[in-house]
Symmetry: C2
């Protein structure tokens, strides 16, 4: 083998995405625990796969148990958690995939950091907007009940803040929108962006 | 939206891989700085892409600058670096991709941890075996020279250990093997594993 120089042949992100005939994208879902992020994310991934799109889903199940198993739920650890998720999402973008992330991601500053890391042109912020009263009524994992009784500390909406997005790219109201409707709203934005290469302007306040 | 329950529709790793018509795999390259890991990794990715395979490459350029930008080169930080890379590679496996990793990964224990995290059936360890004298002669980034003069601490092979794999799945001798030959050796193993679903036994010592 001759001397190793700075390699000249390297596969670029465009080549990886071209093989998949799609534009890489991160669909960043944010909302309270129990808002419906995982349900919508999973249905969205199934719908995209059915349309031949190459996808991945980052959520608590596969991230908190592995890459971020060393992190807790303090503000500082939440920030590092979101930073790592954004960095991993960026790698998936580079690999040409459409990635959905389903994390509470409660702090505006951290979501802005994620947008910066991933890149404005790849980032679609989706606010899964469910009032806390409704999330608490659903309480699918019994977490609100635990948090109310003090068994769970730093729980978003109870003793840790949730800062709703001021101008998300997509706003889903889960009281009015069905899961199917939420998914089709997101698909529409992805397909429009695919055609125009332009992400939608955030809705006016 | 009705109550959010544990979602029943979720895309599984098999569905993601099926769309790509391939078996996900991690090609884990290990070897000294300057051994030729990045050169071989890049050529391998180009070759796989040309064959319609969906790939990704994790290396110092995209990992050390992002996900692991908070880590240094102490033994402890190297361990955490490899743990995160393995966890990310596992996510890519889950997404159905063939991932090449190009990191010195000097410690046997850390590579075994990576194998455990990623899963035996997905993990192909490739020893890029170049004598340190040759790596130092090449010194493509001038790092050995810096390390010898004491400007760089904890440099593998100089003042930090490199533990060669005892039984790698593939052994590349870069003095004898050309880059093209190294790539074809690795491709052969990937394609054989693709057909038989069985990884090659590590070569006998």
């Amino acid at each position: 083998m001759s001397d190793i120089k700075s390699y000249e042949t390297a596969l670029n992100p465009q080549a990886r995405a071209a093989l998949k005939m799609q534009h890489p994208r991160v669909i960043w879902l944010t909302g309270l625990s129990g808002a419906g992020k995982s349900t919508i994310a999973n249905e969205l991934e199934v719908a995209l796969n059915a349309r031949g799109k190459h996808t991945y889903l980052l959520d608590g199940d596969n991230v908190r148990a592995g890459l971020c198993s060393d992190l807790g739920f303090s503000d500082q650890d939440r920030e590092e958690n979101i930073r790592r998720i954004a960095e991993v999402a960026k790698l998936f973008i580079d690999a040409g995939l459409i990635v959905t992330t389903a994390f509470i991601s409660p702090f505006r500053r951290d979501r802005e950091l994620a947008r910066k890391i991933i890149g404005e042109c790849h980032f679609i912020e989706v606010f899964i907007d469910t009032p806390i009263s409704e999330c608490e009524r659903r309480d699918p994992k019994g977490l609100y009940s635990k948090a109310r009784s003090g068994l769970l500390k730093n729980f978003t909406g109870i003793d840790s803040a949730y800062e709703p997005p001021a101008a998300p790219n997509i706003h889903i109201n889960t009281i009015e929108d069905s899961v199917a409707h939420a998914v089709s709203k997101i698909l529409e934005v992805i397909y429009k962006a695919e055609k125009t290469h332009i992400l939608p302007a955030p809705p006016k306040k």
